[in-house]
């Protein structure tokens, strides 16, 4: 597999805040990545660094093998859709779709038109007058129809209702199947996009705390549910990710189990339930927070 992005030892601080803190990872071609994390975790800063909009303080960024900073050769292959994207003051919706094809070599006008219909976007409306959701749908349409070899969506659906979000996910998957490309989707609606993602990067306080294949990540944890004493006996000295207790019942999230361990659990009258990606990440980020507090 070819690496589209290679990051090593990347750091960026704003005053005393470490927005991105000694981060290293690789993004492979033609996969959908989820860049997940809480608000202020460093998602946007990281994407601004990868697209040459912000400047690294330490470390090295290679996008398509080269530094992205002021590099037209690299930047022409990137589409970066930001939640907070600003538009020229006098633009109407139609001006965005008139100008986008000049900058994206793979622009598909027919696809864009279909999406404009899907999202019911009024072309003659001034951008300043659009609702939050309509503004987001402009970004979503540009990001999809640009078909850039590397597409970033930074929280692209603020203000979009559930139907519109589903339309976005559906169109993304359909088009991705026909025109494979690398997509990096940043979001905190983790469960909604969980099925879309092939690889997960979780950033917390500027550090990458999970960098794993989505499938294998789901297998890394199981919740053991049952009578508290039985659960405790089964868990034993295993590493506990999370523990819930209601009366005599307990639910303990532990690392993934193999077939014999699963059999042993059901023999002990315990129930095994899968842990959703969102729960898994919430628990992992909590852990790192606690560790951080202890070390500080």
């Amino acid at each position: 597999m070819t690496a589209v992005i290679e990051v090593t030892g990347l750091s960026k601080t704003f005053g005393s805040i470490r927005a991105v803190d000694d981060v290293s990872f690789t993004v492979e071609e033609n996969k959908i990545y989820g860049l997940l994390g809480r608000n202020g975790a460093g998602k946007t800063t990281l994407m601004q660094l990868l697209t040459g909009q912000d400047f690294a303080m330490k470390g090295d960024i290679r996008v398509f093998g080269e530094s992205p900073v002021e590099n037209a050769h690299v930047l022409q292959r990137i589409s970066f859709i930001k939640e907070s994207q600003r538009y020229p003051d006098d633009f109407r919706v139609k001006h965005v779709f008139k100008s986008a094809p000049w900058f994206f070599a793979n622009w598909d006008a027919e696809f864009a038109e279909r999406l404009i219909g899907d999202f019911r976007l009024p072309l003659n409306q001034r951008i300043k007058k659009l609702s939050r959701g309509q503004l987001s749908s402009i970004g979503v349409i540009v990001g999809l129809a640009s078909r850039a070899p590397l597409t970033f969506f930074d929280e692209p659906y603020l203000g979009l209702d559930a139907v519109a979000r589903q339309t976005f996910y559906d169109r993304l998957l359909e088009d991705y199947a026909q025109n494979p490309r690398t997509v990096i989707l940043s979001t905190h609606l983790i469960d909604e996009v969980a099925n879309l993602l092939e690889h997960v990067l979780v950033i917390d306080q500027g550090r990458i705390i999970i960098d794993q294949d989505a499938e294998s990540l789901r297998g890394t944890a199981t919740a053991v549910v049952g009578v508290a004493t039985a659960v405790d006996a089964f868990v034993g000295t295993r590493e506990v990710i999370h523990r819930d207790r209601v009366g005599g019942l307990a639910s303990v999230t532990i690392a993934g189990l193999d077939a014999t361990e699963r059999a042993a659990a059901s023999a002990a009258g315990l129930e095994l339930t899968p842990v959703s990606l969102q729960q898994l990440i919430i628990r992992r980020t909590n852990t790192s927070e606690r560790e951080f507090e202890q070390s500080a």
Binding site: T2, E29, F55, Q85, R86, D89, D90, A100, F103, A105
Partner: protein
């Protein structure tokens, strides 16, 4: 997979990229081209009406006197301020937008500079043509002055030059101020004007204390109207380079 994406992809050359920025800046021609001419037309009609009223009330004998007074007309000066705003908007709003489209800062600045030069040329030529009509019709038959105001020069060639360099100055100076804002926000702009004011006051103080105001007066008298406008090119060129250097390290913020 790599080769498929590579062959599919048609990259634009440097000239094409700069041209695309020019097109982006005038993507909505209403703001940069149609509206200014429309306002200019409305102001012209308003002036025409006033000239007509004056013409009818003072009588044909006194028209020459009135025409002398009208040559200090400031009716078309607003357009320079308007273009400063166009330049500021281009840097403040079109710049972050263009970066999202994968434009480099260098291409954006070059493309915007080309846009400013083209718009300056268009308005300078258009207003010079109007000034020639104004001259040959003896002020639209009413002794009026709007495009031949005294500070635009005596001949059409002088007016073409003065209009052109004046537009360039207002575009590039406005754009340079906007880069200060984009990079350092309001604090940067405030600091810039505080320093600028301090320098001007210091200069005035030196001239007053040394009794050298005469030198300034002599300078403008010696260089003349056209020469003085030509000197504005120094500030325009400095703005052009400074703007790029400032924008080169700027990150669009929300």
């Amino acid at each position: 997979m790599t080769t498929a994406t590579e062959t599919q992809f048609r990259a634009a050359g440097p000239a094409g990229r700069i041209l695309n920025v020019v097109r982006l800046n005038v993507a909505n021609p209403w703001t940069t081209i149609i509206m200014p001419w429309l306002i200019l037309g409305i102001i012209f009609l308003a002036n025409l009406t006033i000239w007509w009223i004056i013409f009818n009330s003072v009588g044909a004998d006194n028209v020459a006197d009135v025409s002398d007074g009208l040559q200090y007309s400031g009716a078309s000066t607003w357009i320079f301020v308007y273009m400063t705003v166009v330049a500021i908007q281009a840097i403040n709003l079109t710049f972050p937008f263009a970066l999202g489209y994968g434009v480099t800062r260098r291409d954006f600045w070059l493309g915007s500079s080309v846009t400013f030069v083209l718009l300056s040329a268009m308005y300078a030529v258009g207003m010079t043509i109007l000034s020639v009509i104004e001259e040959t019709t003896n002020g639209w038959g009413l002794g009026g002055h709007m495009f031949t105001a005294v500070f635009f020069g005596d001949t059409w060639l002088q007016r073409l030059f003065i209009y052109f360099v004046a537009f360039l100055f207002f575009f590039f100076f406005g754009a340079a101020i906007a880069t200060v804002y984009v990079r350092w926000r309001a604090n940067g702009v405030t600091l810039f004007f505080v320093v600028l004011a301090a320098l001007l006051i210091a200069g005035a103080a030196v001239l007053t204390l040394t009794g050298n105001w005469q030198v300034i007066g002599d300078f403008f008298a010696r260089t003349g109207l056209v020469g003085s406008f030509a000197w504005s090119l120094v500030i325009t060129v400095i703005s052009g380079f400074a703007g790029y250097l400032i924008l080169r390290r700027a990150t669009p913020k929300n």
